[in-house]
């Protein structure tokens, strides 16, 4: 209602390195987060996401590197002076305080007048849809409600930067989907620069302006969700996002070929030694006719068919033994007939959907 638009700050991370013994938790990470942007760090477990977030919040001291909020160098600033909001993976709510006690904590520290504290706490609770919960004890809240209190507490003092470490990982799927949308709306409304950590690719694709894919303490690719999905920079990113099948391909003349079959591709071929054709399961289809002039055709045998309600998964085997996964739509019987195991099938891949990527892992 009265939430003021927060004047956001850009974040600039350059050459930040952190090692634990032999582990490079962060390996020369550089990253620019634009003012007001929603940026997600996405990566497998142990890739360094939390470490990077902790460096931003000031809880982990890196070995070297520079960190700027706006124009200000903050790498050596104590955490309590950084003025960034943060939500922890397990919420970290103070169990000995009520909901209102938790949310007002940062305001009391900032010596905000009492009347204003009450008003701002009320507003923050309204923003996270918890009006009337102020007097509840933390132990009386459900997981989703705790998550909201943590969020309210991290935004009530209007930080210009908000950090979130897997805030939704403890929630069930339905609540998680709902909270994703709510967080996104909240970000649009308040507009603070947000760095969000998750290892859930769908969550990252749903919420982010840009996604940084992290692996082994390095940023593999930083791009908008769509570019990341359509044009992954390498095999790791392609593999991590979506359940694709990869076929080794090689250059043949100006184009590329899979075995001795030339491929029709719409996009460009990356300048790399090791090339692979990425086949997204929802982009490959069963051919409905025999004229495959304009597209790529693969003849295969159905090995596994799994009905999943809104769609079905088909795993079929090419002559050379490679398994290709396809997701088929379950619609009117004529449009799409589920094959049976053992059937001979013809797979169709349009040139637009045939993406050749750099096959190296990083």
């Amino acid at each position: 209602m009265t939430a003021r638009n927060i004047e956001a700050l850009p974040i600039s991370v350059s050459h930040v390195t952190k090692t634990y013994g032999k582990v490079h938790a962060l390996n020369d990470v550089s990253l620019e987060v634009k003012s007001g942007e929603f940026l997600t760090l996405l990566g497998p477990s142990g890739s360094g996401k939390t470490t990077l977030l902790m460096v931003l919040a000031g809880f982990t001291r890196p070995d070297s590197g520079s960190l700027k909020f706006g124009d200000r160098e903050v790498i050596r600033l104590a955490p309590h002076l950084r003025d960034v909001g943060m939500t922890f993976q397990n919420y970290a709510l103070f169990p000995h305080m009520t909901v209102a006690g938790n949310v007002s904590y940062p305001l009391k520290l900032r010596k905000v007048p009492k009347a204003e504290i009450a008003e701002r706490v009320e507003n923050a609770l309204e923003t996270v849809q918890l009006v009337g919960y102020g007097d509840r004890r933390i132990t009386q809240l459900s997981g989703g409600q705790r998550q909201r209190v943590a969020l309210a507490r991290s935004i009530v003092f209007e930080p210009r930067i908000l950090l979130m470490d897997e805030p939704l990982s403890a929630l069930d799927k339905k609540l998680r989907d709902q909270m994703q949308i709510e967080l996104r709306h909240l970000h649009e409304k308040l507009g603070m620069t947000t760095v969000y950590v998750t290892h859930d690719q769908r969550e990252a694709l749903t919420m982010s302006d840009r996604i940084a894919v992290v692996n082994h303490g390095r940023i593999m690719q930083l791009a908008a969700p769509r570019d990341l999905y359509e044009q992954p920079a390498n095999r790791f990113v392609a593999d991590f996002i979506g359940d694709s099948t990869f076929l080794p391909v090689h250059r043949q003349g100006k184009g590329v070929a899979f075995g001795d079959m030339p491929l029709k591709i719409a996009g460009s071929v990356p300048d790399a030694k090791d090339l692979q054709l990425m086949i997204r399961p929802e982009r490959i289809t069963l051919a409905r006719d025999n004229n495959g002039e304009s597209s790529n055709r693969f003849s295969a045998v159905a090995r596994e068919v799994v009905y999943q309600g809104d769609s079905y998964l088909l795993q079929s085997e090419l002559a050379d033994g490679t398994l290709i996964t396809m997701r088929g739509a379950v619609r009117g019987a004529n449009l799409s007939v589920m094959p049976s195991v053992g059937d001979q099938v013809m797979l169709n891949l349009e040139p637009d959907d045939a993406v050749v990527i750099d096959g190296s892992e990083d």
Binding site: A57, F59, P79, H80, V84, F88, P106, L109
Partner: protein
Amino acid sequence: MAASLANETNAAGLRHDERVEKLKLFGLSAPALLIVFVVLVIPVGWLFYLSFLGADGTFSLENYTRMIDRKSYRRIFEMTFEVSVLTTALTILIGYPMAYFLAQLPNRLASVFMIAVLLPFWTSLLVRTYAWLVLLQKQGLINQWAIALGFWDEPIKMVHDLNGTLIGMVHIMLPFLILPTYGAMKSIDRDLMKAASNLGASPKHAFWTVFFPLTIPGLFAGALMVFILCLGFYVTPAVLGGGKVIMVSMKIVSNIEMFVNWGAASALGVVLLIMTMIILWIASKFLNLDRIAGGGH
């Protein structure tokens, strides 16, 4: 009709199983109940009975009226409380920082130090008390060394008085305070302190607004245990007090050994027991007594 019949399926059998299970549980706990009865209820009842017997062996309230009439008895109760309160306070002042220190250590180091804290538990109370006598008395080790090193010239009196008693008692009581406090500290989520700091709290402020309040239940449980143990303490004040610190337990002993007055001794015991129960009752208003026994939170 059919529906209600269906609902009754196996009901009788299930009720029977339930009864059998309860009987079995009772059977299993019966030996424990019996032991409690034999070693607790009967002796306390006997104590109670004795306390109402006068010197001539008939029913009388003289053992209780004596406590009210005679100044010396009042003085003993005051002394008992004074020693207990002081010991508890000192134990908190020394034990809390020690528990904090332990809680900050990496786990492996913490267990080494924890053994040091627990070591006194495995040594006889009497041995520890006399060890303090050896250390503290006028020709004791501390005086000898301090004079040799030039800290002071004359031997200082450190024992056979209240001070000596307190030193000995605090030492013995420390583990009782440190253990529950340490437990409370360890169970605090580390992220809470980070959260406080992230929200703008200086380390000092975060300690007082988040860490300390969360350790109060453990600290309180420890302090309560120390206080109650102090109320009934005997050996240490007897050895280190030099006759100047007379607590209820010592009066009980002298009543029996010197005056063979079981009635008077029993009455003191009953009063001590009732006081302890009142304190526990008040304390239970503030905290879950399970915690003292190390139960879940």
